[in-house]
């Protein structure tokens, strides 16, 4: 510990005052914070302060994302090996998955953190720890087939145009990770929209991929033939409820396992990092609209209308979005009442977009971004109501 302290003390002079690396002072500070909290003490009342810091707040989200990351590596390997007809041994699959996933994560961190340093240096602001979460969320929403350059482009777009141009963390109204994801979705729809094959190719196409799997469950659900229910169509393609819930199917890297997202969401709710109001609102929204659509399902209507609403929660990125994207406190509304409404509308819109707009198989991303824009309005309305209830004191 002393050695590390000494190391930081020795390097400090390069980053301070007239040091050669002075513009990178925010970077030095961020690194120092990882190892040492501040030694700063309070100047005025209140003399004691809470032990919680923004750094820890963000770190807890990252910790809850790690299971999704590791499962993502495993699942990417599994799907590729299945497609290639290769024996399903754990470690080779994990190693293959890591080779696909880790570069995307590293690229995401390099570019995300890089832009953050650039902006912090120019603004002379401290680095905001939010970028660590953004750079972890972003690659987990990508299909494993994403080219590296697209990942770099996406995270750059997300961090710069989703956040930094508005003033950085705390001032962004869109979720930066989703902004980057949405950019890729619209800029490169062929690879990104989810109706293509999302399985990384093992041994560079030595064996045909389409021998085993076709499209993602979302794409299948839209195109289910009228003679079958969606559940039957999915089951026929190997996507039964437990497979979808556990996540052993081709999907975005981190988003496939509803179980891990559920665990993450529950832990984050218990420790108070994620708002339970948003998460429950989301789930209620999805289920409520799912049931409403069930009422309209009948002879001759699209089978998607009649899908069990719980399937909406487990296919595609809904679970991941609910657990980690909707709960981003900065882009969500602040007030508690608005958070319920926000969550409900995200859930409801997700189902609506999925069922009625075949061009967008995945609905949650657009639903979240749409509601991000409305978050300030919801807050405004709630605050107006609160003010009306207060006895004025002017």
């Amino acid at each position: 510990m002393k050695a590390i302290r000494q190391f930081f003390e020795n390097q400090r002079r390069h980053f301070e005052g007239n040091g050669p690396l002075a513009p990178l002072e925010p970077f030095y500070e961020a690194m120092e914070r990882v190892f040492f909290g501040t030694g700063q003490v309070t100047g005025q009342a209140p003399h004691a302060r809470d032990s919680l810091t923004v750094q820890r707040y963000m770190m807890l989200v990252i910790v809850m994302l790690l299971p999704c990351l590791f499962f993502g590596m495993y699942n990417v390997g599994l799907q590729s090996f299945k497609a290639a007809g290769h024996p399903l041994d754990f470690w080779p699959m994990m190693v293959f998955g890591a080779k696909i996933v880790l570069p995307l994560v590293i690229i995401s961190y390099l570019f995300g953190f890089g832009w953050e340093i650039v902006f912090s240096a120019i603004r002379k602001h401290p680095i905001s720890e939010g970028v660590f979460v953004t750079a972890m969320l972003f690659p987990l929403t990508l299909p494993p087939t994403t080219p590296w350059w697209q990942a770099a482009l996406g995270i750059s777009f997300g961090v710069v145009l989703g956040k930094e141009v508005f003033g950085g963390t705390g001032r962004n109204f869109l979720n930066p990770a989703l902004t980057g994801r949405a950019f890729l979705y619209f800029a490169y729809p062929i690879q990104m929209s989810g109706d293509a094959v999302w399985t990384a190719v093992y041994n560079h196409g030595a064996q045909a991929v389409d021998a085993v799997t076709a499209a993602t469950p979302l794409a299948l659900a839209t195109t289910a033939p009228a003679s079958q229910t969606v559940e039957q169509t999915l089951a026929a393609a190997g996507y039964d409820f437990s497979t979808l819930f556990l996540g052993f199917y081709p999907d975005s890297i981190g988003a496939s396992s509803a179980l891990l997202c559920l665990i993450g969401a529950v832990v984050l709710m218990i420790i108070g990092v994620a708002s339970y109001r948003i998460i429950l609102g989301d789930i209620i929204g999805v289920l409520a609209l799912g049931y409403v659509l069930n009422l309209f399902a009948g002879e001759g209507s699209a089978p998607y209308l009649g899908m069990n609403p719980f399937y909406h929660l487990i296919i595609g990125g809904t679970a991941f979005g609910i657990a980690f994207m909707t709960t981003d406190p900065v882009s969500a509304p602040d007030t508690h009442a608005a958070r319920w409404i926000y969550g409900f509308f995200i859930g409801a819109l997700t189902v609506l977009i999925r069922v009625f707009n075949p061009a967008f198989p995945e609905g949650i991303m657009l639903a979240i971004l749409f509601m991000n824009v409305f978050a300030p309005l919801l807050d405004h309305l709630v605050i107006r109501l609160r003010i009306r209830k207060r006895i004025p004191n002017i």
């Binding site: 003490v41 009342a45 809470d50 705390g170 420790i271 708002s275 406190p329």
Partner: protein, 452 residues
């Protein structure tokens, strides 16, 4: 007796509570008054260095209203008048003369006289006796104008802020004085006196039961007059209620009944780094060194006079101000902690649920570390969850920065209790309550300017 339950706020499990015994300390060689610590006033000195004073001689007055006088708690010579930056009068130090200590006498009001006395007459007696400072007016906590009759006079018998003197200790054998004081307040605002105590203080409720109008249960700062007012007011005209702290009421009653300037104070000496944690019976304006022996400290302690959340820090050679009734000695902190970010935090105090201390039933040691540094607001909403008067502190803060005066007033800035909890819980370490207090003070100043 009404019951009030205040759900928000925060219950601290803080190590270093004072024992319930009361030690009577001898009169110190020096006492001081600290004009700097009386909010909003503009002091004009009435004495100079070397002057002879008596107990009860005026030391300074408020330029805004010269009838607000502040009297000497000791008889002897003015030893020193110390000035801070911008000529702020920090302290007027008096070298006490040993016995007999000269004392100014005032006219006493007997219980029978109190029943017939005119309001104006009583106001004049209090003003002349230099005890008007016992009254403060919400929302600014400034001295109220003597002419108007307040919508309420609120008396909080205890203070939930750690660690204030226990009412059971300072009210012991003072029940008659309390009753007398409440009668006097009833002359000032007939039928508008509201007295409340915390539900956990069963002995006080038993003793002062007939006087209590409200029993408050909840966490800090549920017993603050501003919190209670927020709950009991039914109309905007009640915003400018007055309040008197429990011990100040005893002092006021002492002045009126005995005709002598009150110099008794019970101060809680506590905090995890205090060598002796107990209640001390002191002279008003006594030096801290009398209460905390320097020799038994380890170095690296902070003296906080008046409580961790609202008090001021002081050197060990400082003094206790007019309003403060607590001295907390806590570790200064300031050591960078290795891998603090990943500490499971079994004994780290936190409002959030992100530390294992949540499951630790023991009292925790609080220090003065910031535990982080300034970051942007991430809308975690802890400040709104903890606010006892349902404010949205982050919204108010943003509108203060944007100078949207109408907006922050509308959002209820003036209801702010100044409890400091929003600053305490903020993970971004934003100085919310300090900003609110400063903004309120600036607004009060602006309001005080009379148009010609």
């Amino acid at each position: 007796m009404q019951k009030l339950t205040i759900k928000k706020g925060y219950r601290f499990r803080m190590a270093g509570a004072p024992a319930d015994d009361l030690i009577v300390l001898p009169a110190p060689a020096r006492v001081a008054v600290l004009p700097e610590r009386v909010p909003h006033i503009k002091p004009r000195l009435l004495v100079k260095k070397g002057d002879q004073v008596q107990i009860g001689s005026p030391l300074f007055e408020d330029k805004r209203n010269p009838r607000f006088k502040f009297l000497s708690p000791g008889g002897g010579t003015i030893h020193d008048i110390s000035f801070g930056p911008r000529r702020v009068i920090q302290a007027i130090v008096i070298d006490r003369k040993e016995t007999p200590e000269p004392e100014t006498r005032f006219q006493a009001v007997t219980e029978n006289q109190l029943a017939q006395i005119e309001r104006q007459e009583l106001v004049d007696r209090i003003l002349d006796g230099g005890m008007w400072w016992a009254f403060r007016e919400l929302p600014f906590r400034d001295l109220p104008a003597p002419d108007g009759e307040p919508p309420f006079i609120l008396i909080s018998l205890n203070a939930k802020e750690p660690f204030q003197p226990s009412p059971a200790v300072y009210l012991k054998d003072q029940e008659q004085l309390l009753a007398y004081g409440l009668k006097a307040l009833n002359v000032l605002a007939p039928g508008k006196v509201r007295v409340f105590a915390d539900a956990s203080e069963s002995s006080v409720i038993e003793k002062a039961g007939q006087w209590l109008t409200h029993v408050v249960s909840g966490n800090y700062p549920c017993d603050d007059p501003a919190t209670v007012l927020y709950r009991i007011k039914s109309d905007a005209s009640q915003n400018r209620a007055w309040f008197v702290a429990g011990q100040d009421l005893l002092a006021l009653a002492h002045l009126l009944r005995e005709g002598r300037y009150p110099i008794r104070r019970v101060v809680a000496v506590a905090g995890s780094a205090a060598p002796d944690r107990r209640h001390c019976h002191i002279r008003l304006g006594a030096p801290l060194s009398q209460m905390v022996e320097d020799a038994r400290l380890h170095g690296g302690e902070r003296f906080v006079v008046g409580g961790l959340f609202r008090g001021y820090s002081s050197d060990s050679d400082g003094y206790v101000g007019f309003y403060e009734t607590a001295v907390n000695v806590v570790p200064e902190g300031g050591e960078p902690e290795f891998l603090a970010l990943f500490n499971p935090g079994v004994s780290r105090p936190s409002y959030s649920r992100t530390f294992l201390s949540r499951l630790n039933p023991k009292a925790l040691v609080y220090n003065c570390n910031m535990h982080g540094d300034l970051r942007a607001c991430i809308a975690c909403m802890h400040c709104a969850d903890v606010c006892p008067v349902d404010l949205l502190p982050q919204m108010i803060y943003k509108s203060i920065l944007a100078e949207e005066v109408e907006e922050y007033l509308e959002l209820g800035l003036l209801d702010c209790v100044e409890c400091g909890l929003c600053s305490y819980v903020c993970p971004s370490k934003i100085e919310l309550s300090r900003t609110f207090i400063a903004t309120k003070a600036a607004y009060a100043k602006e309001q005080a300017v009379k148009p010609d």
